[in-house]
């Protein structure tokens, strides 16, 4: 879980394109260290009318066109006494959309109470959906797992296994074969929207580096180019590498789906025994292709078994026919 998420952290979120919040702070800076504890917003219409029952004071206060017009009307009529009561509440921040500015008396009160005043050019509806998305990512359940995350043929494959089993080497070979590295060693996994596991490097500042025994630490971006890396990826398949154990039964057919639960989400898992001479990257590539087929509704192992059953049945019918005609002949 995250330790704390302040308004400053919100401003620092590096979101791009259709996720960008486009926020800047125009006042109340001493309050930027206030915590945001609830991933939700509040439209303060009722509060501005002096009704503070069940007031969502722990939420980000969003002022759109309506609220701002109302502030103006309040100030023109000289009814600004409600502002003092409003700012007695420890709200994380007040946020103006549509590039609107707060009214002077309101702004002064915000400054005095050290409540951060933020501003964005986005319209309220767009801002609230982006903000909710960003906050739900921040407040999502998080787990850091020791493994390597690669994207193979568009499938996010999380490679797990004991240290020294060859996770990084396998990932390196996959990158060499044109696939993408998302994170090596420490993969931070977030559960988004209840059923999506998004993985990324646990420390963004360290970028896409890998440790290969005998080589040391290498920079994948510089060695293989930007095409060989990816910032984050949904985890769709878990591959668990283990030392070959001749006493253990490995899946020989693959008709049943095994899953592993991460943060309450079930992900298909494959246990792949490692021994010299087994080309693990190619096995993982094939597993990723197979996973894509499954997503399209085609299960290799099941279809194969169906044909076997069909064949056995026809063979059975034929031998019975042959037997019957023999018997008729004898009669």
């Amino acid at each position: 879980m995250i330790k704390s998420f302040t308004v400053l952290d919100l401003l620092d979120l590096d979101l791009k394109e259709h996720d960008a919040l486009d926020l800047h702070c125009i006042g109340g800076r001493p309050g930027l260290t206030r915590d945001i504890r609830v991933p939700d917003i509040n439209r303060p219409g009722l509060a501005l009318n002096g009704f503070f029952d069940n007031f969502g004071e722990d939420r980000i206060q969003v002022f759109g066109r309506g609220e701002t017009a109302y502030l103006q009307e309040l100030e023109e009529a000289g009814r600004t006494e409600v502002f003092a009561e409003y700012f007695q509440h420890q709200m994380p921040c007040v946020l103006f959309t549509h590039g609107l500015d707060p009214t002077p008396a309101f702004f002064t009160q915000a400054e005095q109470s050290h409540t951060p005043v933020l501003k964005t050019d986005l319209p309220s509806s767009e801002l609230s959906s982006r903000l909710m998305r960003a906050l739900s990512n921040v407040f999502a359940a998080v787990e850091t797992i020791h493994g390597v995350l690669v994207e193979v043929f568009g499938i996010g494959v999380l490679i797990l296994g004991d240290s020294g089993v060859g996770k990084s080497e396998t990932a390196l070979e996959l990158v060499e074969r044109g696939h993408r590295l998302v994170a090596d060693d420490a993969v931070e996994i977030r559960c988004i929207a209840g059923n999506i596991l998004l993985g990324q490097g646990a420390n963004r500042a360290l970028g896409h580096h890998m440790e290969i025994r005998g080589l040391g630490i290498i920079n994948i971006t510089h060695l293989f180019g930007v095409g060989a890396i990816r910032e984050n990826k949904q985890i769709q398949l878990v591959v668990c590498l283990e030392y070959w154990d001749s006493n253990k039964e490995y899946d020989r057919i693959g008709a049943e789906d095994r899953t592993r639960e991460i943060l309450g989400v079930k992900v298909p898992i494959l246990e792949i025994p490692v021994k010299p001479g087994r080309n693990i990257p190619i096995i993982i590539e094939t597993a990723a292709r197979n996973e894509r087929l499954k997503k399209m509704g085609y299960y290799s192992a099941r279809e194969f078994n169906q044909s076997v059953l069909k064949w056995l049945e026809s063979e059975n019918a034929r031998s019975r026919y042959v037997q019957n005609s023999h018997e008729e002949h004898h009669d």
Binding site: K3, H146, S163, G164, D185, A186, A202, N203, M210, I217
Partner: protein
């Protein structure tokens, strides 16, 4: 299972060289060894994992070992921290 808190006492914090020392020491033991800092847990046998922790000067790390040689493993790792990885 054994747990012990250690503090990073070398000025530079855990950069590549101390991380390599930790991994080399941890790899000598059979036990499963984990480091925890601020709720983030990583495998002590993984160099990138340890660097990812971002353990700066005075950071507190919990060493947790589980296995047949857990006591020796924790002692050896704690000694590394006490000796400041032989740095300033």
């Amino acid at each position: 299972m054994i747990e012990r808190d250690v503090t990073v006492t070398n000025r530079a914090g855990i950069h590549a060289r101390p991380a390599a020392l930790i991994v080399q020491t941890a790899a000598k033991y059979q036990s499963q060894i984990m480091f925890t800092k601020d709720g983030e847990e990583i495998n002590a046998k993984s160099i990138m994992g340890i660097i990812t922790l971002g353990a700066a000067y005075q950071a507190v790390i919990t060493i947790r070992a589980e296995g047949s040689d857990e006591q020796d493993a924790v002692d050896a790792l704690a000694t590394l921290f006490d000796k400041r990885f032989e740095e300033e």
